[in-house]
Amino acid sequence: MAHRIIQAGDSRSFPAAHAFLIGAIANGDIHVYIGARVGEAFTRSTNRDQCTAHLVELGDECLGVHTGEARGNEGSNVLGFARFRMGSAEPSNLIELVKQPQTSPAALVACKALFELFGFKVAVCSDVPGRIVNRLIRPYLNAALRRLDERLASAGDLDATLKMGLGYPEGPIALLERTGLAAHFDVTQALYEWTGDAAFAPARRARVAKLRGAAQG
């Protein structure tokens, strides 16, 4: 199994040199589209059935935006993926691998094996906004910001309680400060638009950070 990289703009998953990029070859039979303009690059691709699989790097969008959807029967040898990353932090070692209802099992197995070969942990999920991690942690981070406004506890106590009580390496407030409240705004705003779910609506403090960032250029 070998892969070929088709880069179209800056990639959030691979912002710097990485063994996964270096290990690619020109005639690899899994085509990996990365970068901010993957949509255009993927649209231009032809003879897609001749490859084992295609992997499209996703941002906040669903894979269906690139592949099209068909009454819940969509799916082929095209999968989506993203390497999870909190705001300005380094990308994590997690690959969220996105499948559709009729995704080819062989393509799924091949893509999972490819990422695992390069040392990634791979979690498979269906094509939903927020995939696994953002879907779970953004409402929690929003709630922490709201409860801070309501003075349930101080920022330090809130963080300390969640760290000690749940074994989290970092409390929610410190995590958002480290990785960027404005970035949290961007993700939650996108998820809120996709889902209409109030749990994703950006918290006041995230909106303030976003507006301040914009005002300060």
């Binding site: 999920c125 696994i132 879907r135 779970l136 929690y140 349930l152 506890a153 009580g165 989290y168 390496p169």
Partner: protein
């Protein structure tokens, strides 16, 4: 006020069994009370297993374990709690059950005995209101697994006397735990965040978005959490989760606190979590976490 020497733990389930380890290990004579003798036997086996690992890992000597196990006395007789200076309640998360227990304890225990509840979601002031001694009542919320986790959220009720709260706080520190003061607000800090978070994870399984193992792997890898939500839920137990949700949603009316239907189906299918050998995952043995 007399010094705390003897402690009662009411309820020998997931939490009570662990809290009893903490109190006995810290040198307090501990009476573990449950109405169900089988629960006491199960707790005893788990505690013995836990301390065997502690000796193996050189955390305790066999002599220390012998002393601790001798200090840890199981009982099904409520009257035995007459000897207690402080009683920590860890029975079902149900206001009626807790009121009934505390009313009985109020008749049995001496006037100086402090009552504490390990409730996760019920208001401390509301529980205290049905005990006959709301001035000697505190919230003392240990975390799961109690034998390993240091944090205790401590909350006074509206009528708790400051010196009683202080005494309970000192006792908590003497256990080697780390008390933090929280308001008597639904779910305190931890459960306010945890219950909806876990429900969201269950809804993800329910909607077929991802397998439990993938959810845990994703959260642990991305966030560095020690445990994924699905394995944590198996430890909490579906029967407890349903009660936690009912209590939390009843107080906050937040949509994310409503119990997903899947939890009720899992309970009906006997998939309670670790305690029944199967929840989101399958388990081979009923051992406790840690050493």
């Amino acid at each position: 006020m007399s010094e705390i020497k003897t402690v009662g733990i009411a309820g020998a389930g997931t939490m009570g069994a662990g809290i009893a380890i903490v109190t006995a290990r810290a040198g307090f004579r501990t009476l573990l009370y449950d109405t169900n003798a089988r629960q006491l036997e199960r707790a005893r086996d788990q505690q013995a297993g836990f301390f065997t690992s502690s000796v193996k890992r050189n955390k305790l000597t066999q002599a220390e374990v012998d002393r601790i196990m001798a200090d840890l006395v199981p009982t099904t007789r409520l009257e035995d709690l007459v000897a207690c200076d402080l009683v920590i309640e860890a029975v079902f998360e149900d206001l009626g059950v807790k009121h009934q227990l505390f009313a009985a304890l109020n008749r049995v225990c001496p006037a100086h005995t402090i009552f504490a509840s390990n409730t996760s979601t019920i208001s401390i002031t509301e529980i205290a209101g049905g005990t006959g001694r709301d001035d000697r009542f505190v919230g003392m919320h240990f975390c799961l697994p109690a034998q390993l986790m240091k944090l205790v959220e401590m909350s006074p009720g509206m009528n708790t006397k400051p010196d009683v709260f202080d005494a309970a706080w000192q006792f908590c520190a003497a256990l080697g735990q780390k008390p933090v003061r929280t308001q008597d607000s639904p779910g305190f800090v931890l459960n306010y965040f945890l219950i909806p978070f876990n429900n969201d994870a269950i809804r993800m399984v329910e909607a077929g978005i991802a397998e439990p193992a993938d959810i845990d792997l994703a959260i642990k890898t991305a966030m560095g959490y020690a445990m994924g939500p699905m394995e944590l839920l198996d430890l909490i137990g579906m029967d407890t989760q349903v009660l936690l949700c009912a209590a939390m949603h009843g107080l906050t009316h937040e949509p994310r606190a409503t119990c997903p239907a899947l939890v009720k189906r899992m309970i009906a299918a006997g998939r309670l979590g670790r305690k029944s050998g199967r929840g989101f995952f399958q388990y081979e043995r009923d051992a406790m976490f840690g050493a």
